[in-house]
């Protein structure tokens, strides 16, 4: 049984197959340190969502807002895609500074919001008023597409209000590095708490694209932050108050705090992961294959300079294990110098990439994102690449010999992970009773007793492989499973894992497992940047920084809003 037969022939797989000698191998791309160096790109969800909004002529704005002087109250934003209308409803309050926490387990939030398919009538608003602030404890229905919550930036919300109220713009030295006004923590969707399942979106639904609903909600969440600050400033300052000027009106994004919840998703959805990686690899292969077009060369030079300027205005906070903004500046200088050397050679983009890979993952993945800015893929097509069928049917008649072959083809890398070592199985993954936050528990201190989350893919597959050894190659696998039912999940995963880029080559249970790496990959795919780890398990990021505001959507809205220069730097340029 060859792996070629088992690669499902969907659109993305066909594109990858066409470029099979040019795409990067999974042995590099799926390495934890490479995944953990990913950056937002042209195909990140925040970018694709806004390009879709522009291409389809969406209009969006604030439909209703009723806030008091502290920003407490209700807001409704709407977006019209031309075929459907959606509403983002947000309930805002204030909580004591000491109650602020970024962890999912918090039970109070200053902002709670929901994205609804359609307009919101009084009955639904009344229901949402009760259920949305309850978050995980609430019950929603299929009219609701996404549920979110967050807090104000403790450091900057009040400062921004004070400055605008006094008729001043913010001091770039005080807030330039902040990047956001509100900080979210979760964007639930896809059937959670009774919301609409993704499979329930009709084929022609504008949000029938991976994470489209969540990113529309996030974009409106960000808009709410601006509106809250300007509203509070007007109340406080009266006639003296001003709004954000042109320098600041796009600069702030939406903050996000992300914990271990991302990890189980990445390890439970191999075909989704493959699609996220595969889209990028298809585009990268195409760019690397080009000969130099003079304008492209300048465009790339412009993106390198833009990235340098962006990171040069960032902080030198400790971002271990990642490079902080300041540390990326010499990296970008090296990239610029390499491009100057290589631009006039043959296949210069490929040469630049190959040079970057030699420098290490932070450089290679930064260069990947820069190169992808030159790609002009068909967004309709790329959107379809991301919608994958995750159903899998494990044939019970598969023989032990066939299963062994599949294991060798798909999981040959397990042998590199020391899975029989003393620290290979140090942790198990657990769901906490506090709002169901995923966590890790030391096996030596707490026994799973059936409560483990099955994201221990490497360990399971390795042990399944051992269970198959010594068995008759012609025996059906079900015979092995009858003796060892614990391997059933591994067998099903073996069958379902039929894509190149579906498996991070890592062991989630190892003592030295670093969740930040897969988290960063996922966050980059979402379109987040400014990765600031706060421990080995969670980090803060920013998204939509520099993105157009709701009212700015129009045919002239461009896609080059990422990596904005810090306002001070912009002024200095002028």
């Amino acid at each position: 049984m060859s792996s070629t037969n088992l690669i499902v022939a969907d659109a993305l797989q066909a594109e990858l197959a066409e470029r099979v000698d040019r795409i990067r191998p999974a042995s590099y791309v799926m390495r934890p340190d490479v995944l953990g160096a990913a950056r937002l790109s042209r195909y990140s969800f925040s970018r694709t969502m806004l390009r879709r909004a522009v291409a389809d002529g969406w209009t969006a704005g604030r439909a209703h807002q009723d806030l008091d002087g502290e920003g407490r109250g209700e807001s409704v934003y709407s977006v019209d895609t031309g075929t459907r209308r959606f509403s983002f409803v947000a309930f805002t309050t204030t909580i004591d500074e000491s109650a602020h926490t970024d962890r999912v387990i918090a039970d109070r939030w200053e902002v709670a919001g929901a994205l609804v398919d359609g307009d919101v009538d009084d009955d639904l608003l009344a229901r949402l008023r009760v259920e949305v602030p309850e978050q995980e404890r609430g019950r929603l229905d299929s009219r609701v597409l996404s549920l979110t919550r967050g807090n104000r930036s403790v450091r900057f919300f009040g400062y921004l209000v004070d400055e605008l109220a006094a008729g001043r713009q913010p001091d770039a030295h005080r807030v330039g590095d902040a990047g956001y006004i509100l900080r979210s923590t979760a964007f639930y969707a896809n059937g959670k708490f009774g919301m609409r399942s993704f499979a329930g979106y009709p084929d022609d639904h504008p949000f029938r694209v991976s994470y489209r609903a969540q990113f529309v909600a996030a974009w409106m969440f960000r808009e709410l932050g601006y509106d809250m600050v300007e509203h509070c400033a007007r109340v406080k300052g009266g006639d003296r108050a001003v709004g954000f000027d042109e320098v600041w009106r796009r600069y702030f994004g939406l903050g996000n705090a992300t914990g271990l919840g991302l990890v189980p998703y990445a390890f439970k959805h191999p075909r989704v992961l493959d699609a996220w990686v595969g889209v990028r690899e298809v585009a990268l292969a195409d760019v690397r294959d080009r000969e130099l077009v003079s304008t492209d060369g300048e465009v790339l030079r412009g993106w390198i300079a833009r990235a340098r300027q962006h990171f040069a205005s960032g902080s030198d906070d400790d971002c271990t294990p990642f490079l902080n903004s300041q540390a990326l500046v010499p990296v970008l200088d090296d990239v610029a110098a390499a491009w100057n050397r290589l631009a006039n050679g043959t296949r210069p983009y490929d040469a630049l990439y190959r040079w970057a890979e030699e420098q290490g993952p932070e450089t290679s993945e930064l260069v990947v994102s820069l190169l992808l800015e030159l790609h002009d893929g068909d967004d309709d097509l790329y959107d379809t690449f991301l919608v994958v069928d995750e159903r899998s049917s494990a044939d019970p008649t598969m023989s032990v010999g066939e299963a062994r072959s599949l294991l060798d083809e798909r999981f040959g890398w397990l042998g590199d992970l020391d899975l029989d070592g003393p620290s290979a199985d140090a942790f198990w993954w657990v769901v906490s009773d506090n709002t169901e936050e995923p966590r890790r528990a030391r096996r030596s201190r707490l026994a799973p007793e059936g409560r483990d989350v099955a994201v221990d893919v490497a360990i399971r597959l390795w042990r399944f492989k051992q269970a198959l050894s010594g068995r008759d190659a012609d025996e059906p696998v079900v015979g092995v499973l009858a003796d060892h039912p614990d391997h059933r999940a591994a067998f099903e995963r073996l069958v379902a894992s039929d894509r190149r880029y579906g498996e991070p080559r890592d062991n989630t249970c190892a003592l030295d497992y670093l969740p930040l790496q897969i988290q960063r990959f996922q966050l980059a795919q979402y379109g987040m940047d400014e990765f600031k780890p706060k421990s080995t398990d969670w980090l803060r990021v920013t998204l939509f920084q520099g993105a157009p505001r709701l009212a700015e959507l129009g045919p002239d809205t461009t896609d080059d809003w990422v990596l904005p220069a810090r306002p001070m730097a912009r002024r200095e340029r002028q």
Binding site: I105, R127, E131, R139, L140, D141, S142, N190, G191, K192, F193, G194, M195, R196, S197, F198, A199, G200, Y201, P202, S393, D395, P396, T397, V430, V431, S432, D433, N434, E436, E437, R439, A441, R442, R445, L446, G450, R451, D452, A454, P476, V478, A482, P485, D486, H487, R488, A489, A490, F491, E492
Partner: protein, 182 residues
């Protein structure tokens, strides 16, 4: 939200997730528990009443393991037999509810084999004593699945509440986790 008298609207994945957790706590391995989740969800969507049926075994883990673990296992072996010999059979001594088998039967059909022995008009509660695997598969229609994904599933409020409560045993207290953390 409330769907009507004694019913609550839920998403299909919620049924799957709760059944999975309850099955794990009862002693099923992760693969079998996932399969139990698929079976109950499929039966709820296509036959109705599966959540209520599953709720009846929550206080009897041995019965849960027998019906939702061993029952589908027998069906798998019947398929293996059918592929080798043209026809295979599964016998369930005390009967297994359709809630424990429905997705498995559909999967076999998806792989091209028919399954005989399910009474016309069967519900998720209907006990099955014997099934025969072989012959051509009946064409499948998943309109009910599409509708459930779009509109949600109206399930028995009390039974769903019982699953929700029982599934909490799958969780570990935050205090315990904090205590054992380095």
């Amino acid at each position: 939200m409330i769907a009507g008298d004694n019913q609550v609207l839920v998403a299909p994945r919620e049924v799957h997730d709760l059944v999975f957790r309850c099955a794990r706590i009862a002693g099923l391995d992760a693969g079998a528990a996932d399969r139990a989740g698929r079976n109950v969800t499929y039966a709820e969507v296509h036959l109705g009443g599966a959540v209520t049926t599953f709720a009846t075994v929550l206080t009897d883990p041995q019965r849960l393991v027998a019906e939702y673990g061993a029952g589908p296992d027998a069906l798998v072996l019947a398929e293996v037999e059918a592929r080798a010999k043209g026809i295979g059979s599964a016998c369930f001594a005390t009967g297994v509810p359709m809630a424990a088998l429905a997705s498995g039967i559909a999967d076999i059909a998806g792989r091209g084999l028919g399954v005989d022995g399910v009474a016309v008009g069967a519900t998720a509660t209907t006990l099955v004593h014997a099934l025969q695997v072989g012959g051509p598969a009946m064409p499948a229609d998943d309109a009910a699945g599409v509708r459930a994904a779009r509109e949600g599933l109206a399930v028995d409020w009390e039974a769903f509440g019982a699953l929700t409560e029982a599934s909490k045993a799958f969780l570990v207290s935050e205090a315990t986790l904090d205590e054992i953390e380095d």
